[in-house]
Point group: C2
Chain length 212, copies 2
């Protein structure tokens, strides 16, 4: 453990952190795909957990596809205000994108109650009503992934991309497998781990990595 | 891996999750202190990471002290909007508490710039100006912990309690050791791991665990 405070210029800390992550991945004999690398590294940067190097699952050309969507103004829909708070909304707005968290909206809860449906159902309807490509970033609720999968099966609504990283112990692993086996482009963290912070980190890595 | 979706009533999921966590801690031969247990378990619930059972450090009677503060209307100051978003503000308000994130305030940034000081300095001044007991919950910036420690050393400002769980690779471990060695009551996660989600989980466990 390093218990000595060293002076590092604030704008250098992130660079230094990514160097340390790169070195430790090398020591562990892990070689990441070059396109996926900035995304996986940012998740490790956010969690200090190298397990993610083994468990993140990318569908074919997932990073390129997500970046193209963002570049063309796709909106991001999260399942928690925490994930929404963690996403760099200014940078996203530069491409015309916005972040929504319908699940936490008071009026979504009210509408769900009065119609006798789940908040997830109403949230998906709101997402569909945006009438533009949508990236779903689910960091908390496996039920959101399960609802999403049902709507895709029924042909009601299919998002352009799914970031599926809920965390937990009940139905989390199974919900993620549903998305991994689907045709929708995705980044999913296999297993129990994930979180709103991981969802936000993946979104930010995708936004930051766009170069014209 | 459990890839079968099972129907669990939404209000049962958390209870079931905590049962699984309890069982797995037992299988690992880990016996938690009874008072700290709900806090440690909630962090594991938020991260699906059992490492926290070994690395969370509680100062003497930390949980009792933090709960007493909250019960008496202490405010919570976070270093990120993400941590703020994750804290159950309604429940906290029931005890007269509020959550602030001065670090992310636009006018704090402006004031820091015009005075040539750091945002952390201005944030601590704002916290001191609340004129009430303050719990600091730091999930992101080790520099916030270092500034806090400096102010404590200089006698400028001492919070009533510190939740010190920044995550990362540069100065994070050392910053946490400063707090562990201080006299301020604290809950700190030793090592690199932590995060805004962990900070929020600890705050919520403290708030939820208050019984009259």
């Amino acid at each position: 453990m390093n218990t000595q405070i060293e002076y590092v210029r604030p704008d250098e800390i992130e660079k230094r952190s990514f160097e340390i992550i790169g070195r430790e991945l090398e020591q562990r004999g892990i070689v990441l795909d070059a396109v996926q690398e900035p995304v996986t590294k940012r998740v490790i940067h956010t969690t200090a957990d190298f397990d993610y190097a083994d468990t993140l699952v990318y569908s074919e050309n997932a990073v390129e596809k997500a970046r193209n969507l963002i570049k063309n103004g796709a909106h991001i829909v999260t399942d928690t205000n925490m994930a929404k708070a963690g996403i760099n909304k200014k940078r996203l707005a530069g491409y015309g994108g916005e972040v929504h968290c319908f699940m936490a909206d008071e009026d979504v809860a009210a509408e769900a109650k009065s119609r006798g449906v789940t908040r997830a159902t109403v949230s998906m309807e709101r997402a569909a009503a945006l009438h533009r490509p949508v990236i779903f970033a689910i960091g908390n609720a496996p039920t959101a992934l399960i609802s999403l999968h049902e709507m895709m099966q029924e042909g009601v609504f299919t998002p352009a991309f799914i970031i599926g990283v809920p965390v937990g112990f009940v139905n989390v692993e199974a919900a993620k497998e549903l998305i991994i086996q689907s045709d929708v482009p995705h980044i999913v963290n296999r297993g129990r781990k994930g979180g709103s912070n991981v969802a936000a980190a993946i979104c930010n890595a995708l936004v930051y990595g766009i170069h014209y």
